[in-house]
């Protein structure tokens, strides 16, 4: 497999590159602590004022575990394609990417993969272990971890495709900042990353079922926590099927859109 060699080389370089930013991992962990403190007090207030222990089928404890792990996944998946691409286009650096002997989308995906690997081992795994230890048995440890890895990989691909669908918009408008904020907000809200989907009003919850964002946070977290029967294949496969569906659909759309957008560079000269 000659193609594999190109990809693993990019992963390796990405790992070396992101290891140089030792400080940024520390900053990220610190920012997470602040964010999670905020989340803790917010949800504590919500539960206290509701007067019951179980809201929408989740205890306070469940909600916290869910949100902490969602944050860990957020750190793992975070990409800056929108920024990076718009900067590369403005500076003309994009030409050098287009001249690599790999298809641009593939090249971009694998260029980021090293950072994902790093984030997984340096941020996600430690967070997960801490949560497992502290909650003593709240998270099932078994085959669900393996399923989760598959689901997480699919989530990563879906997330990449969402980024790659949004980023080329900067070729049509100058407002990268606005585009990025909108994307970030929509993804974090509708994916269940900031509020578990169980808390959504019924109408919105059903609507979200039909959107791709759920495939990024809600599904992998459900699988990890072995909820909704996802610890058995019959419960798991439909979920992975949804993720796979979005991978395919979004990557087809992303490809078409990119092929159109790249003409802005190759025809109009950027």
């Amino acid at each position: 497999m000659t193609g594999l060699k190109k990809k693993t080389a990019l992963t390796r370089a990405g790992i070396i590159e992101s290891l140089q930013f030792r400080l940024s991992t520390a900053v990220m962990l610190f920012a997470n602590l602040i964010y999670l403190a905020l989340v803790y007090f917010l949800w504590k207030a919500i539960y206290d004022s509701s007067g019951v222990d179980v809201v929408n089928g989740m205890t306070f404890y469940d909600t916290m575990i869910y949100l902490i792990l969602a944050t860990a996944i957020f750190n793992l998946l975070e990409m800056f394609i929108v920024w990076d691409m718009s900067r590369a286009i403005q500076s003309g650096e994009i030409i050098m990417h287009l001249l690599k002997p790999m298809r641009y989308r593939l090249y971009t995906f694998w260029s980021y993969s090293g950072a994902h690997v790093n984030n997984f081992f340096l941020s996600f795994v430690p967070t997960f272990i801490v949560v497992v230890v502290i909650t003593k048995g709240a998270i099932p440890i078994g085959i669900n971890l393996l399923y989760f890895m598959v689901s997480l990989l699919l989530a990563l691909i879906v997330n990449f495709n969402i980024e790659m669908l949004v980023a080329p918009v900067c070729l049509y408008t100058q407002s990268t900042w606005g585009i990025n904020i909108v994307k970030e907000t929509v993804v974090l809200l509708l994916s269940g990353a900031s509020i578990p989907l169980a808390f959504f009003p019924e109408g919105l919850r059903q609507a979200v079922e039909y959107l791709p964002f759920r495939a990024v946070y809600d599904i992998p977290l459900t699988v990890l926590l072995a909820k909704n029967g996802t610890d058995s294949l019959s419960g798991l496969l439909p979920k992975l099927g949804i993720q796979l569906f979005w991978c395919v659909l979004l990557s087809v759309c992303g490809n078409l859109f990119w092929n159109h957008a790249v003409k802005k560079i190759t025809v109009n000269g950027g």
């Binding site: 370089a13 001249l99 002997p101 190759t266």
Partner: protein
């Protein structure tokens, strides 16, 4: 036929740009404006490049050199005309074309900013699928041509401009491409670095038979490297021939220097098509005593300047 690595037939490239207006009011107008202007960056240029040539692609600022190179590399689509690079249409087959070319764009870098150079090389080796042995040989060749040690383990972001340029040129040749495009590779380099880079390009061209297309504003590069030059101006090709030819083509100029009786030197540029050296000397001798003479060929730089300034062309 197989000897021709680049064939361009009647290539044109036009850019459509908005006619921008001044001031705040103008900027608001521009939001709704459909007032476009067409810039002909490359205008009906045909040329062929043979394997193993080093071609100096020259022209004044804004002539269309970089645009031509972008068309040849496939990052720009021509508006009209046909182009084949190694039998491929670069803009249709950019990825495949990229495997066989190396590119240096003056102020851009293809290297990974945070990686030591050796890691960038390593990565390039893998994405261009260079066999281990060829890679070792290439590094050996590099070592014989330049002093690699001071830069090999430095991250690119810590390099000086010259070191980075050198690194970028080495990176462009690393996968032993058939053709290398160098768009102003010696910009901002000191004289010794320039000399080293010229030596390197010539060495690689000789050893590997790489075809090189070089744009530059430094005629020293041209004199040191190019047998053949192509000049474009306002998008049109105005010269395509040997460098030797150039000097006679645009008038065979020479500079005659004479030392007179009072030991002072006088200089006169002579166009041998209009007058000849002996005649000038005879005229001079009528009034002065000539103790010594020197005859200098005009430099490429001066010829090119005359051409750019729209001077006397044949």
């Amino acid at each position: 036929m197989s000897n021709e690595v680049i064939v361009m037939k009647n290539i044109s490239k036009q850019f459509k740009v908005l006619n921008r207006h001044e001031g705040l009011k103008g900027s608001i107008q521009d939001l709704f404006s459909r007032d476009y202007k067409i810039i002909k960056a490359v205008d009906d240029v045909s040329l062929t490049v043979n394997k193993g040539e080093i071609i100096g692609y020259l022209g004044p600022n804004g002539a269309g050199k970089s645009t031509t190179i972008k068309i040849m590399t496939g990052v720009l689509e021509p508006s009209a005309g046909e182009i084949f690079v190694d039998g491929r249409m670069p803009y249709k087959d950019r990825t495949a074309n990229s495997e066989n070319i190396g590119v240096v764009f003056g102020q851009r870098s293809q290297l990974w900013w945070n990686l030591p150079l050796i890691e960038s090389f390593n990565l390039l080796r893998n994405i261009y699928l260079v066999p281990e042995k060829d890679y070792r040989n290439m590094l050996e060749l590099y070592r014989s041509l330049v002093d690699l040690e001071p830069i090999l383990h430095k991250p690119v972001r810590q390099m000086s401009l010259g070191q980075r340029t050198l690194s970028d040129i080495l990176a462009a040749f690393l996968h032993n491409p058939g053709i290398v495009f160098l768009d102003e590779p010696t910009i901002g380099l000191d004289v010794s670095m320039k000399a080293r880079i010229r030596e390197l390009i010539r060495g690689l061209n000789e050893v590997k038979g790489t075809t090189v297309i070089l744009t530059t504003h430094d005629m020293g590069d041209v004199d040191a490297l190019c047998k053949r030059i192509i000049i474009i101006d306002k998008g049109r090709k105005i010269y395509d021939n040997d460098i030797e030819h150039l000097k006679s083509y645009f008038g065979s100029y020479r500079t005659l220097r004479m030392r007179l009786g009072d030991d002072s030197w006088v200089e006169q540029v002579i166009d041998e098509k209009k007058t000849d050296v002996m005649h000038v000397m005879q005229e001079m001798q009528k009034e002065h005593k000539i103790k010594d003479i020197q005859l200098q060929e005009i430099s490429t730089e001066e010829v090119i300047r005359k051409i750019y300034e729209g001077g006397e062309s044949a």
